[in-house]
């Protein structure tokens, strides 16, 4: 059995101390990463609870419940940040990427604790597959919000619609990586292909400033 709350305490405490010590941008970046890790911990609890309530098995919950819960939880820190601090466009948008990074880092640590790190191929697939998916979802929300930032109502509807979009993407990915054989490899390759396609089309890395 993996005690994810213990892992969370171990990983989060130095980050929390650094957040207290740092100022301005450094503090904000670490706070977003911490928020992402917290979102991951909470979504694990909520997914487990909802799976019990809906009375479905764990594999089915992986594509029916977990994507919705995880993406909503990832968006919440950003929503809170926008409502409370009324930040600049760039700060809020980049924030969603940091939250995704924090989320996937914590998820990967829990995965490694549960399944071990001896199998390099599996670890790579985890990092560049599931790990990259969270970054892709964060990127979609970031780029979408960038174009829909001008007015508050546009931002609100935009955030909802982008959330719906990434939940579906996440659910499709979870179905594919739960299949054996070639489908698994195709599914695992989707996030990294999305990132490379995006970079090829834009011909530059994200600079939303």
């Amino acid at each position: 059995m993996t005690y994810i709350e213990n892992i969370y305490l171990c990983l989060a405490s130095p980050i929390l101390l650094a957040v207290l010590c740092l100022r301005k941008e450094g503090r904000r970046i670490l706070a977003f990463i911490l928020a992402g890790m917290t979102a991951c911990l909470l979504s694990a609890y909520i997914s487990t609870y909802l799976t019990g309530v809906a009375d479905i098995d764990r594999s089915e919950a992986a594509w029916e419940i977990a994507p919705a819960v995880e993406e909503i939880m990832k968006l919440l820190p950003l929503v809170l940040f926008i409502i409370v601090f009324e930040p600049k466009k760039k700060d809020a948008i980049i924030g969603s990427l940091y939250v995704a990074v924090g989320f996937t880092t914590f998820e990967n640590v829990c995965y490694l604790t549960s399944y071990g790190s001896a199998d390099l191929l599996r670890v790579l697939i985890r990092g560049f597959g599931t790990g990259a998916l969270h970054v892709v979802c964060g990127m979609i929300v970031s780029v979408g919000l960038y174009y829909l930032w001008d007015q508050a109502w546009l931002r609100t509807i935009g955030a909802f619609t982008l959330l719906c979009f990434v939940i579906t993407l996440h659910a499709i990915f979870n179905i594919l990586v739960n299949q054996p054989g070639a489908v698994f490899w195709v599914g695992s390759a989707i996030p990294i292909c999305c990132i490379f396609t995006y970079l090829a089309l834009m011909r530059k890395r994200i600079d939303l400033a």
Binding site: G144, L154, I157, L162, F165, A171, I175, L176
Partner: protein, 205 residues
């Protein structure tokens, strides 16, 4: 078999639309084309999710909220696209005909509650009602929105095809071309392709 072939055809058509919209968005740095890409992309994701469930699990999802979410998103992006290409002024007086759209979508939502979930029907009614409201507004103000009226017509057609799909899935069964469901779905696919031209015209304004 027909359902799967028809789904693949629709996904391919939507993928083409996403590609064109994305390309236009990158070339012109246009927000309207980004919204169009998300509109087609969301609809395509819902289709893919539904088909993947059928292929790998042989059943539609027990909790169908995921595919519904992507279709909610799709119609919301269509609404945002209408607003983006033809913005209205704050405090502007609305034409009475515009209210017909939300009234029809609400009435249909109440009717479809016999088969579907209450909440999802209400959300569809709200989003499609907004699309109708914005589209009819652009059609009644024909002089002001000359280039955008084609997009408004296509938005209404797409919503009507969606309702056609719902009606046919309630009253007709069977995996044959005699089922009007497939005809509505094919017309919806064609409408999406024609919408590309309508968006190009609306954006050119």
């Amino acid at each position: 078999m027909i359902e799967r072939a028809e789904n693949i055809l629709q996904i391919a058509a939507l993928l083409f639309c996403v590609g064109i919209s994305h390309w236009q968005a990158v070339v012109h740095r246009s927000r309207a084309w980004v919204l169009a890409a998300f509109f087609f992309g969301s609809y395509m994701m819902g289709d893919i999710f539904w088909m993947v469930c059928l292929i790998f699990y042989g059943k539609t999802p027990q909790i169908s909220v995921i595919s519904d979410l992507s279709w909610f998103a799709s119609y919301s992006f269509l609404y945002l696209l209408l607003l983006q290409t033809a913005p209205t002024k704050a405090g502007e007086k609305r034409h009475w005909l515009q209210w017909v759209g939300p009234a029809v979508s609400l009435a249909l939502a109440i009717y479809f509650m016999q088969w579907g979930e209450i909440l999802s029907n209400l959300i569809y009614a709200a989003i499609i009602g907004l699309v109708f409201f914005a589209s009819i507004g652009r059609l009644v103000e024909r002089d002001r929105y000359r280039k955008q009226r084609f997009l408004a017509v296509m938005a209404i057609v797409i919503c009507l095809m969606e309702y056609g799909l719902w009606f046919s899935s309630c009253f007709f069964e069977g995996d044959s071309l005699a089922n009007p469901y497939y005809w509505f779905d094919l017309m919806l696919t064609a409408s999406c392709l024609i919408s590309l031209w309508a968006i190009k015209k609306a954006v050119a304004e």
